[in-house]
C-alpha cells in the first residue's frame, strides 16, 4: 500500500491457458522470436537463390512449398538445399548449445569453443586426415570424418566435465579446465599439421576453417535428425532448468534435482556442439555470440533457448552468404561469423553502457 492508502497492483506477468497447457505470456520475447524466425527463413531462401545460376526469391519459395519448375527443383533441392539446410541446422545446434553452457556455468565465456568440444573434434579430425596408414584410412572410410570428429568433441567435452567435477560444477573451474584442455588439443592439432605430409595438411586445413561447402544430403540428414532429437530432449528438461539460474541451492529448495538436470542438459549441449562441428567444421564464435545477442534482443536476463538457436542459424547462413558473395574469392564461413558477430555484440554492449 502506498502512504495515501491506494493499493498498488503488482505487475505480475499474465498467464495464458490453452486447454491443459498454461504458460507465461511475454509478448516481447514471442515477437522477437517470430521476427528472428522470419529473418532466418528469408536468409535461408536468399542463400538458395544466390549462386552461379541465380533464381528469383519467389521461385525459391514456390519450389520449397512443392510448386515450381523442374529445372529450379534440381538446382534448389539437389545442389543448394544441403548447404542452406546444413547452415540452418548447425547454426541452431551451436546457438542452443552455447545458450545451455553459458547458463549452466552462469558465465558468458562458457561456450563450446572454450569448453574444449571444438578443440577435441578438430584434433581427432586432423589426426585421421594426417596420420596416413591402414587403420586411420579405414576408419575415415567406414565411419567418416564427421563421425570421428563427433566422437572427438563428445569425448573431450565429457573429459572436461569430469575433470571440473568437484562436489558439483563451478562455472569458473569448468571454464579454466576447458581452456586448458582446449590448449592441449590445439597443441596436438598444430603438432600433427607440422609433422604431416603437405597434401594431407591442405585437406586438414580446409576442414579446420569450417565451411558449408560440398555438403551432401547424407551428412545433412545425420546432422538434422541428431539436432532434432537433442532439441526434443532439451525442451523436455528446459522447464526444470529455469530455477537453476539462481544457483544449485536455491534450485534444490524449489524442488529441482539439479545434478540430474544439469548432467542431461550439459550432455545435450556437448552433443549439439559436436554434431555442429562434425557437420560444418569448427565454425568459431557462433556458440559464443548467438546466446548473448539473443539475450539482448529478447531483453532476457538469461540466454533464451529458442531465440539463441534462431540467432545462431541467422548468423551462420548470413555469414555463409556474405562469404560467398562479398569478395571474388569464397571466404571460409568462420572468418565471416567472427567478423559479423563480434562487432554486433560489441555494439549491443556499448549501447547498453550508453543508456
Amino acid at each position: 500500500m502506498k502512504p495515501d492508502g491506494t493499493v498498488v497492483k503488482p505487475s505480475v506477468a499474465p498467464g495464458v491457458r490453452l486447454g491443459h497447457v498454461s504458460f507465461v505470456w511475454r509478448p516481447w520475447i514471442v515477437f522477437v522470436s517470430l521476427l528472428l524466425a522470419a529473418a532466418t527463413f528469408l536468409v535461408f531462401c536468399l542463400s538458395i537463390a544466390v549462386g552461379d545460376f541465380p533464381i528469383g526469391l519467389s521461385r525459391v519459395i514456390a519450389t520449397l512449398f512443392g510448386g515450381g519448375e523442374r529445372v529450379d527443383e534440381f538446382v534448389i533441392m539437389d545442389l543448394r538445399m544441403p548447404r542452406a539446410l546444413a547452415g540452418l541446422v548447425v547454426g541452431i545446434a551451436l546457438g542452443v548449445s552455447g545458450a545451455i553452457t553459458q547458463s549452466i556455468a552462469r558465465n558468458p565465456l562458457a561456450s563450446p569453443d572454450i569448453l574444449g568440444i571444438t578443440g577435441g573434434a578438430s584434433a581427432v579430425a586432423v589426426f585421421l586426415v594426417t596420420v596416413s596408414g591402414g587403420t586411420a584410412a579405414a576408419v575415415v572410410n567406414s565411419v567418416g570424418l564427421s563421425a570421428a570428429a563427433l566422437a572427438g568433441g563428445l569425448g573431450t567435452g565429457l573429459l572436461v566435465y569430469f575433470l571440473a567435477w568437484r562436489r558439483g560444477i563451478d562455472g569458473f573451474r569448468l571454464i579454466l579446465i576447458g581452456i586448458s584442455v582446449s590448449a592441449v588439443m590445439e597443441a596436438i592439432t598444430t603438432w600433427l599439421l607440422v609433422t604431416a605430409d603437405i597434401r594431407d595438411v591442405a585437406r586438414a586445413q580446409a576442414w579446420l576453417v569450417g565451411s558449408l561447402d560440398n555438403r551432401s544430403w547424407d551428412e545433412v540428414w545425420i546432422a538434422l535428425w541428431g539436432t532434432l532429437a537433442l532439441l526434443v530432449v532439451v525442451s523436455c528438461v528446459a522447464f526444470q532448468f529455469k530455477p537453476m539460474h539462481f544457483g544449485d541451492e536455491v534450485a534444490a529448495g524449489l524442488g529441482v534435482r539439479y545434478s540430474m538436470v544439469r548432467a542431461v542438459l550439459l550432455l545435450c549441449a556437448v552433443l549439439l556442439a559436436a554434431v555442429g562441428v562434425s557437420a560444418a567444421g569448427p565454425v568459431p564464435f557462433v556458440a559464443l555470440v548467438a546466446p548473448q545477442v539473443a539475450m539482448r534482443l529478447a531483453r532476457c536476463p538469461t540466454p533464451p533457448l529458442v531465440a539463441s538457436g534462431m540467432v545462431g542459424a541467422l548468423l551462420l547462413i548470413g555469414a555463409d552468404l556474405v562469404a560467398r558473395t562479398a569478395l571474388p574469392i569464397t571466404l571460409p564461413v568462420g572468418v565471416v561469423t567472427a567478423a559479423i558477430g563480434g562487432p554486433f555484440l560489441v555494439y549491443l554492449l556499448v549501447r547498453a553502457n550508453l543508456r
Binding site: V12, H245, V250, G253, G255, T302
Partner: protein, 287 residues
Amino acid sequence: MAAQYIAEIESGFNDASRLAARGVTVGYGARTVIDDLDVAIPPGVITTVIGPNGCGKSTLLRTLSRLLKPTRGTVVLDGDDIVKLKTRDVAKKLGLLPQAPVAPEGLTVSDLVARGRHPHQSWLRQWSSDDAAVVERALAMTGVSDLADRPVDSLSGGQRQRVWISMTLAQGTDLLLLDEPTTYLDLAHAVDVLDLVDDLHESGCTVVMVLHDLNLATRYSDNLIVMREGAILAQGHPRDVITAELLHEAFGLRAMVIDDPVGDRPLIVPIGRTNVQLDRMPIKLQK
C-alpha cells in the same frame, strides 16, 4: 501456554514437531561436521541456531532442508524420512533460503518471486492465475509490490533480501528455513528483515534460521539452539538458555547478560579488553 511448549522443547521430541533430526551424522567428504545429533523443531515459533563460526549451524540447516544427505540417522519431515521424499514434494512443504543467493543481472523482482511457484508447476502447466495470485500476495506480504518491475540487482541489500524471502513465501509453505538472512545487512536493515520474519511467524509460519548476531537472535526467537563443534550445547527459550556461563562455554566469550531495557529478553553485553571500566563489572568475571 508458553511454559508448556518450553517444556515440550526441553523434553526433546514432541509429537507436534514437523521437522526433526534423529541421530544424524553428516559432513563433507571424509570430514564429519555433525555427529549423532538429535533435534526437533517446535511448530509455530521462530527457532534460531547460534554458535561460533564453523560449529555446524549451516550444516544443520542444510541437512534439515535435504541439501545434505546424512551418512547416518534420518531427518523426519511430517513423519516421513526426508531422503525418501521426492525433491519436489519436499519443496511443497519446506521453503529454503540459502545464504547470500545471487539472481541473474537484469532479472525483475516479479520474475524472481514468480519462480517460487516452481514446485507447483509442470511442463504443461507453467503458469496459471492461481500462481499470479499467490505471487501478488507474496509481494504484498513482504512489502515489495512497488518494486515488482525493478531489476533485483538495482535494489538495496535489505530490499533484495525481502525479495528473496518473498520468493520463498510464493512457494506456499508454512515451514521456512533461512540461512543467515541478515548477512551483509547493516543493523537497521537487519532489524527490518527480522521484523518481516516475525510477521511471517505471526501469520502462522514455522521458521528456522541461522543468525550471527546474538542479541538479534535473542530478541526475535522463541527457541534457541546453541551449537558448538557439531553438537547442541543448549536449546530452549532465550530467557532460560542465555547465561554468561553458556556464552563462555559456546563462544569463549566473556560477556554480561543483563535485562533488555526495551524488551523482556536478556541482553548480551560483550566485555572484550578495550574501553571497559572494570569497577562496573560484576566481581565474579574479574580476573
